[in-house]
């Protein structure tokens, strides 16, 4: 292994978290200038490796050299001193602070006073130079994710980094914002920076990388120069030369005449304490035997919509019907009994009982129907059902008494899906509301989840699939509607799926933008074409 005279080299890096070997002897060489893509599926170790470089994690073994000199990066500050900065997937911003405060935090210029004026000038210079339009006095909690990302980049630039690591930066961006990000990256390169882009999206790898390093299961499996990075070669490295492991694509729905509408939202609105509409006149309907995809950038009301359907958020006006029954004011319990099965996006926070057993997590929700009208909680019956689910869904757990939090993310998701299916099976008409169900899962589990969703559809159930991954939506949905700023609009039948038109609606900016026009033409109605 040749140690580059200039640039950063990581050698033999290993890192273990408990039982999991996240990194196993990784070698990574970063040449100065240009974009180096670090690619791999979820869980491959890309973020972990860069977290080591950025000083957040300490490696169990291995060393790092910068321009030939060995360097110990013991903390994020050490990394910054070495000129290495990282923009994480989940932003690290102090929500109640302004943009300027977030940028200067930690580098306020010494002394006892906050030098607001001088620092503002310095930051504005950076804004000018790199074209990162940010209102420095806006509070972070009030701005969009795209702007937050710019603030994160400014944070790093303010500290004079020459290596900037971007971890899955396009996750929450619309297609248009992604273009904006890439143009920003070009400006950064012009300014002499080196960029490391962590991604799992094939499109991005091929679009912008000068070099690509592919990781799988904690090891580096190959490094390619731009010219060598053909799609075939990339796929081979990413998947492990075991075939494409083709993504699940939905066959057309079995019955052309779909069932009766199971989930209906009619002009549903939900207001905050300060009367700000989080959901604004939303209407949609999902019939039995169909998958309705809900596209949208995070933060446009999807979470609130899910909460309104599930019952954890009150509906201020409009009607919610499930299987024909009006459940607008019904408590969560009644909705569960009526067949509303929910697979939340934030599994750990909203889905599981971490310290209680797998069986007890599995029972949460179905237990209303299982023990309806009774005071006793039949633990044995619950354990039996859980054991069956573990078997059927091939959950990697020794038994159903394991504390739920010990499972890996993928296995937790399997349990949640199994639970939703159990719930759906116990009701007459069932609608599954799934929010980003495949987030953070490896290919195998993703396929599994998708197959189960489609299976429910094929059995006559209704599926409302909310996702930020357009690819996923386009592969699985029968229809797609778009959510933007609390409103639901646009209606695309399967034949008409077009990522750019959908993306335009997702962004919906400007007075006479294509999005506004599209919305006007298609109307705010998200109902099916069939009358």
């Amino acid at each position: 292994m040749v140690v580059a005279a200039s640039g950063i080299a990581m050698r033999g890096i290993s890192k273990r978290f408990g039982d999991v070997q996240a990194l196993a002897g990784v070698d990574f060489a970063l040449r100065r200038h240009g974009v180096h893509v670090l690619a791999g599926e979820n869980g491959a170790g890309k973020t972990t490796l860069m977290n080591v470089l950025a000083g957040l994690y300490q490696p169990d073994a291995g060393e790092i050299t910068v321009d030939g000199r060995p360097l110990r990066i013991g903390s994020p500050r050490d990394a910054l001193d070495a000129g290495i900065g990282m923009v994480h997937q989940h932003f690290e911003l102090v929500a109640p602070f302004t943009a300027l405060e977030n940028i200067v935090l930690g580098k306020e210029g010494g002394g006892w006073r906050l030098r607001k004026r001088e620092q503002r000038r310095d930051v504005e210079a950076l804004v000018e130079r790199y074209g990162l339009a940010v209102d420095l006095d806006a509070r972070v909690r009030d701005v969009s994710i795209g702007v937050q990302q710019k603030i994160e980049i400014l944070k790093a630039l303010f500290r004079g980094v020459d290596v900037l690591i971007l971890d899955e930066p396009t996750t929450h961006l619309t297609p248009q914002e992604v273009d904006g990000l890439f143009s920003t990256m070009r400006q950064l390169l012009d300014g002499g920076l080196t960029v490391v882009l962590i991604t799992h999206k094939l499109r991005e790898i091929r679009g912008i990388g000068d070099r690509v390093t592919v990781m799988r299961r904690g090891r580096v499996v190959g490094t390619l120069e731009r010219a060598e990075a053909t799609e075939a070669r990339l796929v081979e490295l990413l998947m492990g030369a075991r075939g494409s492991g083709g993504a699940v694509v939905a066959a057309a729905a079995p019955t052309p005449a779909r069932g009766a509408p199971i989930l209906e939202l009619v002009h549903v609105s939900s207001l905050t304490d300060h009367d700000r509409p989080l959901l604004d006149d939303c209407s949609l309907e999902v019939r039995g035997g169909e998958v309705l995809g809900l596209a949208g950038v995070a933060g446009n009301g999807q979470r609130e919509l899910a909460e309104a359907i599930v019952g954890t958020r009150p509906i201020s006006s409009g009607r919610l019907r499930v299987g024909g029954r009006d459940l607008t004011r019904a408590p969560v319990r009644d909705r569960l009994l009526a067949g509303v099965a929910y697979v939340p996006e934030d599994r750990l926070r909203e889905g599981i009982l971490p310290r209680l057993s797998l069986a007890e997590t599995f029972a949460l929700g179905p237990h209303h129907a299982l023990f309806k009208g009774r005071w006793l909680f039949d633990e044995r019956r619950v354990r039996k059902l859980a054991a069956e689910a573990i078997e059927e869904y091939r959950v990697a757990a020794p038994n159903e008494r394991l504390p739920t939090a010990r499972l890996s993310g993928g296995n937790i998701q399997k349990v949640l899906i199994a639970r939703a299916m159990l719930l759906a099976g116990m009701a007459e008409a069932a609608v599954l509301v799934a929010m980003n169900p495949a987030r953070g899962l490896d290919i195998g589990t993703t396929q599994f989840v998708h197959r189960r969703l489609l299976a429910l559809r094929d059995r006559g159930g209704a599926v409302l699939l909310m996702s930020e991954d357009l690819d996923e939506l386009m592969r699985l949905s029968d229809r797609i509607v778009v959510m933007y700023r609390g409103r639901i609009g646009g209606q695309f039948a399967r034949e008409d799926f077009d990522p750019y038109r959908i993306g335009a609606l997702m962004a919906g900016t400007g007075e006479n933008s294509p999005a506004e026009e599209a919305l006007a033409v298609l109307g705010k109605n998200g109902r099916g074409d069939e009358r």
């Binding site: 957040l56 994690y57 300490q58 994480h88 102090v94 935090l105 930690g106 006892w112 006073r113 906050l114």
Partner: protein, 313 residues
């Protein structure tokens, strides 16, 4: 009983004086919580501050400085116990706080008995003398109410703009607030989260110890078990009531001090109302106020959540 009773200058003056321990304890807790550490053991810490302050003054033959210094030191040490558990060991802060509370209450009583033994007449000290501010003390009403107090009262109220400036006008304050809201963000920028949290905790402990010492040194002149009487809990609530802002905390402190002062007054004036009912007033008020408080109070987001740099997700 006339309406004048409720705005009598004497009463208002007493209010300002009684507000001092509430204010000191609340400001101390505010600093801690702004850094992200929750201390529910204020009551116990104040008890220790009271006994140490009293014994220090009494034992040194009347030196307030010794008493105050010792009380602050005691408060600081106790808060560091909590700090170590909360920051370095990342334990459950409420449980440890309650343990510290019980420890403090018991220790205070123990120390008193060990030092004083069994005597027929409880030892007493001279309370802090009031220092009239020349010129201002001669103002008609305000002079008596605001400008003729002991030094600790002035100190307590002067601390308010000082703490405000510290939190919002200095880099140190910016960093501390960041630690309380998103310690990971601060850490990635090279801010020493651990040191700042310890610092805020210790500083808070100093103030809480001082607040405890105020009770024997400036109000009663002696120590008795249970003299803190729930003030520590009320101080905890004042921080929430004041939305973690120094200037807003003053309002709450004055409110409770007013009720407490009123209680003394009413007990002297009417025999019809049972004294216990009057004594219960501050606690009833606290419950009422609490209900109002629970609307949109914005706690520092990382309050009572331990920070682990290597935690995943």
């Amino acid at each position: 009983m006339s309406a004048e009773l409720f705005v009598d200058p004497q009463l208002l003056r007493l209010t300002v004086a009684i507000a001092a321990p509430f204010l000191l304890a609340a400001l101390g807790e505010l600093l801690m919580e702004r850094g992200g550490v929750l201390n529910v053991g204020i009551e116990g810490m104040m008890a220790v501050g009271a006994v140490v302050g009293f014994l220090g003054t009494w034992g040194s033959g009347g030196s307030y400085l010794v008493g105050i210094g010792a009380a602050m030191l005691a408060g600081g040490l106790l808060s560091l116990i909590l700090g170590c558990y909360a920051i370095s060991l990342r334990g459950q802060q409420i449980t440890a706080g309650l343990g510290l509370l019980v420890f403090g209450l018991g220790l205070a009583s123990l120390l008193y008995r060990a030092a004083v033994g069994v005597e027929l007449a409880a030892p007493r000290i001279q309370v802090l003398p009031s220092v009239a501010i020349p010129g201002l003390a001669r103002l008609p009403v305000l002079g008596e109410v605001l400008f003729s107090h002991d030094l600790l009262v002035y100190g307590a109220f002067l601390l308010v703009p000082l703490v405000h400036w510290l939190l919002f006008g200095t880099p140190l304050g910016l960093r501390l607030r960041a630690c309380g809201d998103n310690p990971r963000a601060a850490d990635t920028l090279g801010v020493n989260v651990v040191a700042l949290r310890y610092g805020a905790t210790a500083a808070g402990g100093l103030l809480i110890g001082l607040a405890g010492a105020y009770l024997p040194l400036a109000i009663t002149g002696g120590y008795s078990d249970g003299m803190v009487g729930g003030r520590g809990w009320i101080a905890l609530m004042l921080v929430i009531l004041g939305r973690w802002l120094p200037w807003a905390v003053v309002g709450g402190a004055l409110l409770f001090a007013y009720v407490e002062a009123l209680q003394f007054r009413l007990a002297l004036v009417t025999k019809a109302v049972p004294p216990q009912l009057l004594l219960a007033l501050p606690y009833l008020l606290a419950i009422v106020v609490l209900v109002r408080v629970y609307r949109g109070a914005q706690a520092p987001a990382a309050l009572a959540v331990p920070y682990d740099r290597e935690a995943r997700g």
